[in-house]
Subunit: 425 residues, 2 copies
């Protein structure tokens, strides 16, 4: 399938390349041209799309999520993280089957598509079913290993590392990780550190999400979670920390030195009263930041527009600095940084040779008018309403409010509701 | 025009009335029935709408805005409030004509409709043009007087009070107010207090938005803005405070005693680094709170869904209490409280005799699934994407992504862009 998108405003997100008017060629799953108008270059096109002056840009990368938790949306709100996990989330999750995960992940994929998200860094169990959901819908999925004391062995982790990094669909891949310091034994963490060393692979983990987590780690180990995990050799090959809300001065230095990514999840951190991550300080130190929605049970929606506004809005208020985290920086976090954080360097920008994971933003909506500064419009005013099209790997999966998946939307809703009713009553 | 909406889930927002399935009758601009299925009651209907199981609820009330500031969207971001007002906003506003205001207000109305907002409490100048925009589009507009040292006389205020409270369209009305303590002379404030006394009318004003505003008022008057304005007799007949971010203990008592509304504007307060209003404390004291978007130059979008999530999310984080400001309370603020705050008690709920200002929420979208708790879904997961229909005074103004106004959307965009270019270059 070869597609040409013409009459477009194009924001490639390459360094120092401003929005320009032109066209984009997609051959197979790859971008082959992004530049000024060229009338299709005499090539044969399966489809030619008139963008009507709307904006084409890289899809957003959801750099931390637990997709199949869609079944818990609006089930257990207004609770503290630890109580919420132990009394509501874990008991419900124990009842999930492969089939549940398959449909619940598909529901999340639908929501990602409506928000212009083209890849998920998904930390969840029953991976075979999650991979099938990604392949069947055509969505890009990077698994993040979530081993902890309640499930998983180092042998299984090593097997999954190979299995999902050689997935034939080229849509599914895998990164080493574990759930969190407070749910994972030292032995398991050392096992992960061993695999990281063996494969020179980065490691990703929930870290310093709540004050309580940090305090309890200090009591147990005499160190912060960052320092303790670093002392176990977990970050010798880089990786990333999800949330990263409560850090001390030494933590910042370790993060910087190890070249770790921070994946911030502002809506989830507000809703669970976890706090507000020091994003501006990370940026000021040159620590790269990406953005995740976290799971739909804690957020409760999967909406990159909401996260983008929060990333900058919260920093402005907390740092008493309206200049903190400007719009273009936020767009970079949501696209280029997300791609690199989750190991998808081929999905970062719109340029020849990169994967065709892209979106069209509807500028002919009142929230985008007048057209004074499109980047700022997207970050400060944008919403799901502006997502006119979402394409993953050269295939259009969402366009004009319609989904183009392997099954009807109604079937996914029906299955997700059935699972929620069965498990939650 | 008589319309029947059937096969609906209905959330009337009346006290203690849960969502039920049934139908709604609208005759002229008024609701005549909201209850269980009744097959239209043998009446003649101009249109019968199958809601297909989606939710019908009261429209959101935008209880503080400056609509025509749409021309400044994304023009001057990332600045402090006082610098932003003095160097960017005031000089640009000085160049606005009646014609500009007319089209810029229409642009804001379009955006309100996409967000399910059915009324605006609009504080802006060139009122004749703003009223015309409301009448022509069919949108409900309550003007808030904004007199200050840079424009307006008490005589003009009194004239506008009569003119707009007797508007034949029944869509336009008017409340006394002034811009802010820091922009308005004591003489003018006393004039407003006199009118308030004469007409037993409430008074609305920007108040305690920034720390600087409070400090400078203390230096000038020895009192906080709340105490100083109260000492001038401005709140003898109630009214409301926009923003209300920085309050001392005595302020809370005055607000409570005078029965004032607080209209919170969380996105604007974040973006301008003004702070986070003590919404939970207001609620705990029984002080009623409504929600506004503020103007599009400071927010930058006019989206009640974003405001609703922020109202609760910010309080949870700041108060370290995930139970703070539950979803149903937020929905009440955005509908019933907004209506009463701006003097529209006939627009608060869906019940017989009330105005037909209502919206249909699309539940068949991934962010609303599964359907476990619809109220929570709206507050925590909702977005403009879910607004299937917006009706004001019995007329459908927005439906299925299309606008039904007196002119095409493109004309409004063209005029708004022309104004922005002319004034801002």
């Amino acid at each position: 399938m070869n597609t040409r998108i013409y009459n477009a405003k194009i924001l490639t997100m390459e360094e120092d390349r401003a929005i320009f008017e032109g066209e984009l060629w997609i051959e197979g799953d790859t971008i082959t041209y992004a530049g000024p108008a060229k009338s299709g270059g005499g090539k044969e096109w399966d489809e030619q799309i008139d963008a009507e002056g709307n904006l084409v840009m890289p899809g957003f990368k959801n750099a931390h999520t637990h997709s199949a938790m869609t079944f818990l949306r609006s089930h257990a709100d207004d609770m503290k993280l630890d109580e919420w996990l132990n009394t509501r989330v874990f008991p419900a999750e124990a009842k999930l089957t492969d089939r549940d995960i398959y449909w619940l992940t598909k529901l999340a994929v639908m929501e990602y598509l409506t928000s212009g998200i083209t890849a998920m860094f998904d930390m969840y169990m029953h991976r075979a079913a999650g991979a099938e959901a990604a392949r069947d819908t055509g969505f890009r999925n990077v698994f993040c290993e979530s081993i902890n004391n309640f499930g998983g062995t180092i042998e299984e982790v090593e097997e999954d590392y190979h299995t999902y990094n050689q997935d034939e669909s080229r849509l599914v891949s895998y990164q080493l990780g574990f759930h969190a310091e407070y749910t994972t034994s030292r032995e398991l963490m050392e096992g992960i550190a061993g695999l990281s060393e063996k494969y020179k692979a980065p490691v990703y983990v929930h870290c310093s999400e709540t004050r309580k987590e940090v305090e309890e780690c200090r009591e147990r180990t005499g160190m912060t979670p960052v320092a303790y995990m670093d002392s176990l050799g977990l970050f010798r090959h880089g990786g990333g920390l999800f949330h990263g809300v409560h850090m001390d001065d030494a933590d910042f230095d370790i993060i910087k030195e190890r070249g770790l990514w921070i994946v911030t999840n502002p809506a989830s951190n507000l809703k669970l009263a976890s706090g507000i991550a020091p994003v501006k300080r990370y940026l000021d130190m040159g620590i790269p930041v990406a953005i995740g929605t976290d799971g739909p049970a804690s957020n409760n929606c999967l909406d990159m527009f909401r996260e983008m506004f929060l990333v900058t809005g919260l920093q402005k208020a907390v740092c008493d600095d309206p200049e903190a985290v400007p719009a273009m920086e936020v767009l970079k976090m949501a696209t280029v940084n997300g791609a690199h954080a989750m190991g998808l360097p081929e999905c970062d920008t719109l340029s020849a040779g990169k994967k065709a994971d892209l979106i069209m933003i509807d500028l002919m909506q009142p929230n985008m008018q007048p057209l004074q500064n499109i980047e700022k419009n997207i970050v400060y005013s944008g919403s799901k309403q502006n997502v006119k099209m979402t394409m993953v790997g050269g295939k259009i999966l969402y366009r004009g409010g319609e989904f183009f998946l392997d099954c009807p939307a109604e079937e996914i809703y029906r299955e997700a509701n059935a699972t929620a009713r069965r498990i939650l009553g």
